[in-house]
């Protein structure tokens, strides 16, 4: 209860401060619209469905690319951790590409795939894949060898060891890698959407872009708020349960 009050107080305070700055008249209302204007924009966008549609399109792209990135990154990371050859080749490649800010994939994706959904997907996959791969590789590598030995004495081997021992033992690394992959994918998708207009669907990034073109500051701020909200929500829905599990079993954090 007290926590809720603190949270409400803090964010309420931010809105009041915002309103106070607007009322002080330091900036033109075109550059800094009052909170009520932004709320009005959001309301309109919710009612006419444009916000829901844009969010849906963005989430669809993100989810698809993210899932592909994870599905490729998990086994590849396990493989590079176990094979010297793969770690010297794919591992080094991943390490190099991971340092590349994922926005940098946008020009290449455009040239390769044109202004298409594939280009968007490609950027998101690139954002996800390498950091997931490296995190899993790292986790599997830093595993205490005693786990695998203990498992062997109980009759576990091969695929069973991989799935029932190595993967769960690397879970702390895997979760943080997937979280980082998510952050990279989300950022690069927004950049791609702002940068490129794609006729097959306007995402949140496009709404932001159009807001700028129309000089509609209420739209720009409104969409930004939604983007922040989705980021927070994803964190709560996708990663919180895992982090709670890690905390419960490993007894870390708190």
């Amino acid at each position: 209860m007290k926590r809720v009050l603190v949270i409400l107080g803090f964010f309420g305070g931010l809105v009041v401060l915002w309103q106070a700055l607007v009322s002080a008249g330091l900036w033109s209302p075109v550059l800094l619209p009052p909170p009520a204007d932004v709320a009005r924009y959001l309301w309109r966008a919710i009612v006419d469905g444009s916000l829901a549609e844009a969010s849906w399109i963005t989430m669809k792209r993100l989810m698809l690319g993210y899932v592909i990135g994870c599905v490729l990154g998990l086994p590849l990371g396990l493989a590079t951790a176990r094979s010297k050859y793969l770690s010297d080749t794919v591992g080094v490649l991943a390490l190099g590409l991971q340092t590349l800010p994922s926005v940098c994939w946008v020009p290449l994706a455009l040239l390769w795939f044109g202004q298409t959904e594939t280009a968007m997907l490609f950027v998101v996959v690139m954002g996800t894949l390498w950091s997931v791969l490296i995190a899993v590789d790292n986790g599997a590598r830093n595993l205490p060898p005693i786990y695998v030995r203990a498992a062997r004495t109980m009759g576990s081997k091969g695929l069973h060891t991989l799935v029932k021992v190595i993967l769960p033992a690397s879970l702390p690394f895997v979760v943080s890698g997937m979280k980082q992959g998510w952050a990279f994918a989300w950022r690069s998708l927004m950049a791609a959407e702002i940068y490129v207009t794609i006729l097959t669907g306007y995402g949140l990034g496009h709404l932001l872009h159009f807001g700028r073109e129309l000089n509609a500051m209420d739209q720009v701020i409104g969409v930004m708020l939604i983007i922040v909200l989705i980021g927070l929500l994803a964190d709560k829905v996708l990663f919180s349960p895992w982090e709670k599990f890690l905390q419960k079993r490993w007894g870390t954090g708190k």
Partner: protein, 268 residues
Amino acid sequence: MSTSDELQILPPSKLVVDHVTKSFHTQRGWLKALDDVSLTVDEGEFVCLVGPSGCGKSTLLNLIAGLDTPESGTLSCDGMPITTTGRDRGVMFQEHALFPWLDVLGNVLFGLNLKPSLNKAERVEIARYYLQLVGLGRFIHANVHELSGGMKQRVALARALAPNPRILCMDEPFAALDAMTREQLYADLQRIWDQRKKTIIFVTHNVREAVCLGDRVVLFSPNPGRIREQFRIDLQRPRDINSVELAEHATEITRALKQHNAKREVAE
């Protein structure tokens, strides 16, 4: 197959270590961890391996467990050569090696889940039986990090016992525990050994511990790792580690241990 089949008391097995040698490559060249070691362990016997650090006790235990292979010589269990790990040989390490991603029950179930002949209810029943046996019946859903050191080793013991192995290999399982907890575990281990009729190979630094637990104490010496001397302990069970008779045996073995060390120093 039913739970009672699974929980039946199997005849303990006979273990033969025959002229086994094992070397490791180190920075200072090859190191003979075991040099021509032969040992026969009877069915149901409790054998303790003692000796100074680095004399190859863990190496031998790993070979028996099948976690490693000898350079020359053979090991066999019930006449079958040991080539790899097997559920007939359970292992307990100095570190508890429990899986943090599973709760206590999940850890004990790990080995049981690999036995295809059992169904889920039977597995859980067996796991509960062993947790009860080690005195942790009330902690089945606890997380590993919530247990004390002694409790963790009890879970590790239950986990090693659960697939019903005939030989139990234990590598200094109580070394990291305080004296009080250890004494409790000596009593429990003797009871379980008797109740479940296992053959136990128990590695330790602690001569008193060896005398308290073993039917036989095998003394090793290092560089290269060899068996020096063997002592039969026929004290009555259950044994109390603080008893005078036990201390006498321990003194005798400690003296032998020191003698071998002294001889070695002279030779060098």
